[in-house]
Structures are given as C-alpha cells and as structure tokens.
Subunit: 231 residues, 2 copies
DNA sequence: TTCTAAAGTGAACAGTGTTCACTAATTAAA
DNA sequence: TTTAATTAGTGAACACTGTTCACTTTAGAA
C-alpha cells in the first residue's frame, strides 16, 4: 500500500492520480468505440499529450491498463443489475429485469463485454475467481435461483449452483450472439416474428425460467447420475 | 473459378495447390496450439521454408488465411454433429449426443471455436449468413427442434426458429464458459457435485430440453406478446 | 530457343508494445 | 536557501507485426 488510504493525499499524489485518470479516461473513450484493436499506446499518449513511454510510469503494461477498464466495466455492469434487482418487487419481475439489464449493458459496450470474457483463462484467473467481479456476478445469479426456490417457483431439489451456472451460460451465450451477429433476433428465413433485442431476451429468459420451475413430474434432471457413452 | 474444377489439373496447378496446402497445414498446426496471436506470417514462412512475401502469392491477407481455417473448422464441427445425429436412434438421444459433440469439438479446438465467433459482425457477414457454415449449423438446430415437435416431445405451438436461436445461444454460452473458465463445471464453493464437462453439458441440455417440452400448462411463452418497461 | 507469366525473394514501410539512458521538475533534507 | 534525492517525462531504439514492391529466378508455351 503506497498511499495512506486516500485521506489527505499529498499534492504530488493528487497530481499523479489526475494524470492516471486522464489516461484511463482516454483509454475508455477509444476502447468503447474501437476496442482493444484500436487502442494503441502511441495513440493514447497523443490524446493526452504525453510521450508513449510516460504511460508506463502509470501502468506496467497495456494489458494492466485494459484489465482496469474491464474490471471497471464489470463493476458498472453489476451495479446496474443490482439496481434492477432491488427495484423489482416480485420475483418474476426481478428475474426478467435483471437479465434484461445484463444483456442491455453487454450490447451497449460490446468491446468491454467481449474483452471481459476473452482472458486466456490462466490458472491464476481460476484461483481468485471468487474474489473477482466475475465471481460476484455469478454469486448474484446463485442468489436469484435461491430466491426462486424460496418463493416456491423453482424446483427446491435443484442444486442452485449448478442451475446458476447453466443460467449464466445461457445468458452469456445470448449476449455473445447479439453482439456478434447483427439483427440476431430478426434473423429468420421468413418475416414473421421480428423481435427486438429486449423482446427476444424476454423470450429466452422465459424459456430458461420455465426449465427451472417446479411444475414438472419426478423427471427433473439432477446432475451427475448418468453414465456417458461415446459419441 | 480459375481452375477447371479439379479434373485434370496441370502440373503447375498441382504444385501450387501443394504449397498452398503446406501453408494451411502449418497454419493449422500453429493456430491449434497458440491461436491467432501466435500465428505470424514470418513464423509461417519459416516453418515451410519460404519467404514471408511468398505467402501473399497464395493468400490475399492473413485474415483470408485464418478465415479459411475457421471455415474448415466449422465444416469439421458440422460433420461431427451430423454424424452424431444420424447414429442416434431416439430423439432424446440425438439431442443429447449432438449437443455434447458440439461442446466437445469446441473445447477440443478452443482457438478455432472462439475465432469463428469473433468476427466483427459486419454487414456482409449478416447478408450471407444463410450461405455460410454458421448458418447451416443454425439450420441443424432448427431441424432438431422441428423433430422434437413432430415427435410430440416439444411444444408444437412454439416457433422452431425462435426456439432454435435460444437453444443455440445457450449452447454457445456453455462452450464459451467452458473454454474461458478452467474447471467451470467443478467451480463451486463446496465440494459436492464435481462434474465433468460432459456431465455438466448433459445437465445443461437437460434443462434446455425441459424448457421446450410440452408438459406445461397454457403458460408457455410465445415471443412478442408482451410490453417492455424500462429498467 | 524465345517470350511471357508466374513463383519466389529481400528490402523497405508503417505500425505495434516495451525498454532504457537521459533530462527536467518537484519534494525532502541540511 | 542551497543541496541532495526522488520522481515525472522524454526520445531513441529494439524486436516484433502485416504488407507492398521492385526485382530475380523459374517454368510452360509458342
């Protein structure tokens, strides 16, 4: 811990944070529009009227800088989903608005969302997954499933963690396809059923919720009780 | 069409195709292990004992070369899923093996799978989506849904195209998370329910199939019949 | 054999992330 | 206030990248 916890920062430190903030701000601006491909150190330096090597007095590498952008984005993403959660009264509404918000934020900042998941998945990433924002986001989904179980809407016999992982994968996939395939919801051979992003997201979430509901017979799937044949 | 459809190719053309194949082979080798990041024109040239500029007599750009790798991968992916489809007797088994195969191939060649979906989604991509392998893959999912409806397993009132898109998104998301997050199926706070990739895929597919089944009441979701509030 | 078209090459261009010796400025100590 | 020690900032360079282009060599056809 170099600085004394931000209370009574020295003028030098305040100046340093100002420059650091300017770098991050310019980086955010460029990254939002052109992604990591358009974000070069030299361009960044030009935008804030510094030399390229000056950047390295504030960030160890370009990757460090981008990681900070990604982490900040994930923080904003969680904030907005959290806000959607606490302003929703019923469980059904909460599920719908939370996931719709998740998708909206992802589509609003496609480069951020893609980059946040494009890490090479190193061992260290796995180790402190719980501590990272991504792990917290997963925790929110788990909580949502547990709320559904408490409310008697979801199957109580289901492992909420496995269900949350499945749910998260499904939402992540939708975000990816909406970003990568333009007009994905309208992508149809004929012209019936032209949906907006929100409408298709609702449809998608509707199906996912249905799959977790408690209105089925004893055929509800439980993980890990089947043998697997080769394909 | 430069060459006369491969029948009676001239020696020059055969030689050319041989070199072209060697380039693609080396590219495939490098790309499989290190992805596009590790694939440089100079390294490729060194591996096949040519000069870097020679590559450009066979491929217009690096992107063209990589696109060919991606297209070939998607072809193999579809072949294997197709094989899984025709060797499965019952509908339930077909669904399970097809999707399990899809996930397996994606995880086997993570760089290929990620790159295949990492295109920037230009307007041209959208235009000839139907003609590309990716569009054919989507067609297979549609067909699968329609088979389920014909078999009386899936809700017949459901639009198979919308359902297929939802299904595809969910499977794509799982593939992404399995690739990006090591030990995703075992990612748990406690140690119960340690699943393999296949086992978790089966669990995931089980939920998705459940959501499309016809064992529900009249509350089955139909897309596009709801108003959307802001979040 | 001569001519033409293709194959293949080395050098260069413009760009990238990054490092390092160096100077300028600011802060702390005498 | 003068001096010493950090720190901020710089320009040049290194090792890369994809790509182009004038050039030579090779091969097939007339």
């Amino acid at each position: 811990m170099p600085q004394p916890l931000e209370l009574e920062a020295s003028p030098a430190e305040r100046r340093r944070q100002k420059v650091r903030g300017a770098i991050l701000e310019a980086a955010e601006r460029v990254f939002s529009v052109e992604g990591e491909a358009g974000l070069s150190i030299r361009r960044l330096a030009e935008e804030i009227d510094y030399s390229p090597s000056a950047i390295y007095k504030y960030f160890g590498s370009k990757e460090e800088l981008v990681d900070e952008l990604k982490e900040a984005f994930f923080g904003r993403l969680m904030e907005r989903v959290d806000h959607a959660a606490i302003t929703s009264l019923s469980f059904e509404e909460r599920v719908r608005t939370c996931f719709r918000t998740y998708i909206r934020v992802a589509v609003e900042r496609p480069h951020h969302y893609l980059a946040a998941f494009a890490s090479q998945g190193s061992a260290t990433d796995c180790a402190n997954f719980q501590n990272m924002k991504k792990g917290q986001a997963f925790g929110m989904v788990v909580s949502l499933v547990q709320q559904g179980q408490s409310a008697g809407v979801f199957d109580a016999k289901m492992d909420p963690y496995q269900a949350a992982k499945s749910l998260w994968a499904s939402m992540h996939g939708l975000a990816q396809l909406l970003i990568h395939i333009p007009h994905f919801p309208e992508m149809m051979p004929n012209d019936r059923g032209v949906l907006s992003n929100d409408a298709f997201t609702d449809f998608h979430v509707g199906l996912l919720v249905r799959s977790l509901c408690d209105t089925h017979g004893p055929t509800a799937p439980t993980p890990g009780n089947k043998e697997h044949k080769d394909v």
